[in-house]
């Protein structure tokens, strides 16, 4: 490394090492990655960033609105489901990613959740993925009418809403960490 | 003389060059993409000032932040004022800095070292 390494600790990766990270982002069409704490305020700045980024790209109003609505849902889910950092709790940073390729806009979230939340959430995701547009519309109406506020009702109607807007399958993944927690990752695509 | 009144934006400063109300001020943040384009009216105004100088003009510079591109333009502004001053017109620059912003104070001090004209550095 050119000259400056003395000031940095031995743990600092060299700049050249970061190129593998760049390559990963490039390969997966990822444009923005935020990693850390999520709050109402932070969510607003992420939305504002996306707004400005898309301003330059002349999106159709419809597409823009869909992406924002999906983002709001996704981000709120992360901040609402934040797990208190008590002793013994694994430290897994929550992530939001925004990406874009020729066909789609891509939104990804990944955060830690309690294992008991996994089955209802998985069921909900599978249910939503199995329905067509009409089916989703009906499901949404049903859920709205029978609004359940219990936490174990998965992500409530948020997931249905996201699926309706995305109009594509929701890609998800649960990775167990230990007997209490898993990492839940979700990828949403919105056509350009 | 034209009156210049530009409202501040998130990346450009407020600029008031008003000889009628005797307010001459550049304040806020300066980080426009094209500093030459942004400051062109100011430079033009200074060229006009050279032709019809206003005695005892006080220019207040009260910036929160300016990028290096702006720093060059600020120097150009100060150099023009220096010339007008050296041609016989009394005038003054008042450089303001927030009391917690020692960097801004130092920036003012540096400018006062580069140009020779009455320069007051004031905390606010």
């Amino acid at each position: 490394m050119e000259n400056a390494s003395k000031k940095f600790t031995a743990n600092q990766s060299s700049l050249a090492h970061l190129s593998s990270f760049h390559a990963l982002l490039d390969e997966k069409d990822i444009m923005l990655v935020y990693c850390g704490e999520f709050s109402q305020e932070l969510n607003k700045t992420l939305l504002a960033f996306t707004e400005r980024k898309f301003k330059a790209e002349n999106l159709e109003d419809n597409t823009r609105r869909k992406i924002f609505n999906i983002m709001v849902e996704l981000l709120q889910n992360i901040s609402k489901n934040k797990i208190e950092n008590l002793e013994g709790t694994p430290e897994v940073s929550a992530i939001f990613m925004l990406g874009t390729n020729e066909e789609d806009y891509i939104l990804v979230t990944s955060n830690m959740i309690r294992n008991e939340k996994v089955p209802p959430l998985k069921d909900r995701l599978d249910q939503v993925n199995s329905l067509d547009k009409e089916g989703l519309k009906n499901l949404y109406k049903d859920e709205r009418l029978n609004a359940t506020f219990s936490e174990t009702a998965g992500a409530g109607i948020g997931i249905i809403d996201i699926a309706r807007k995305s109009e594509k399958k929701l890609i998800y993944n649960f990775e167990k960490i230990d007997d209490k927690f898993s990492v839940y990752s979700l990828l949403i695509r919105v056509s350009k | 003389m034209e009156i210049i009144n530009i409202a501040a934006t998130e990346d450009t400063p407020k600029v008031v060059l008003d000889h009628v109300n005797k307010v001459f001020e550049i304040s806020g943040r300066s980080l426009p993409e094209d500093v030459v384009v942004f400051y062109q009216p100011v430079i033009q105004w200074l060229d006009d000032l050279e032709k019809s100088p206003i005695p005892n003009l006080e220019l207040a510079i009260k910036l929160e932040y300016f990028n290096t591109a702006s720093s060059k333009l600020i120097l150009d502004i100060l150099l023009k004022l220096e010339e007008i001053n050296q041609n016989g017109t009394p005038l003054k620059v008042k450089w303001y800095y927030l009391s917690s912003d020692s960097d801004m104070r130092e920036a003012g001090e540096e400018y006062s070292e580069i140009v020779s004209l009455p320069f007051e550095i004031t905390e606010y």
């Binding site: 970061l18 760049h22 990822i30 891509i106 | 993409e33 290096t68 720093s71 917690s100 912003d101 580069i114």
Partner: protein, 183 residues
């Protein structure tokens, strides 16, 4: 029905690992414009405002970001490599790390390398004099770019500029810069 490779979410844990290993908070890869610069600044400003650090470190991070990002906006390749511009910010116990990277043409490499190397050897006093010299003499549309900006970054942080040139092809190099803004 999507058949693209991205349906595999294993990359998410890879991204998390990279972000964590490098202590990154935010990473942006793509086109750079004044709009994006302002958006990134606003995001970072917000993030920093939540900390209890004094205004000095925040304003120095801000200043370093502006110089790096506006330099990319002005001097980077706007065509095929526009999407390769990088900005990342991280936080370690030493302070904030600001990374920027962009593709440049090969003829700019030596000049940039020697400029930065020279700046890295200068004392505070020498940097001050160098800055005063440059501000009086640099034409704004300097072709090498980054004239005053680099000096300013060095003065603001008091730290050496960590940099790297990675060859992409005979015509292009990826220039990356890492600056530590410490407490």
């Amino acid at each position: 029905m999507n058949t693209k490779a991205i349906d595999d979410l294993t990359f998410v844990s890879e991204v998390r690992k990279q972000m964590d290993d490098n202590r990154l908070m935010l990473s942006y890869r793509g086109e750079m414009s004044q709009e994006i610069v302002m958006a990134l600044l606003n995001m970072t400003e917000h993030k920093l405002s939540q900390t209890s650090f004094d205004t000095s470190i925040k304003s120095r991070v801000f200043a370093v970001m502006v110089e790096c990002l506006q330099n990319i906006t002005q001097h980077s390749d706007k065509t095929s490599f526009a999407r390769s511009n990088m900005f990342m910010i991280g936080y370690t116990d030493k302070g904030y790390m600001v990374y920027s990277g962009n593709v440049i043409t090969h003829e700019k490499v030596e000049e940039l390398r020697s400029k930065i190397t020279r700046i890295n050897t200068m004392t505070e006093e020498e940097l001050k004099e160098f800055y005063k010299f440059w501000i009086k003499n640099e034409a704004l549309s300097g072709k090498s770019g980054f004239g005053l900006g680099l000096i300013h970054i060095a003065r603001k942080t008091g730290n050496p500029l960590d940099f790297d040139f990675e060859k992409i092809d005979d015509e292009h190099y990826f220039f990356s810069l890492r600056t530590l803004v410490d407490h």
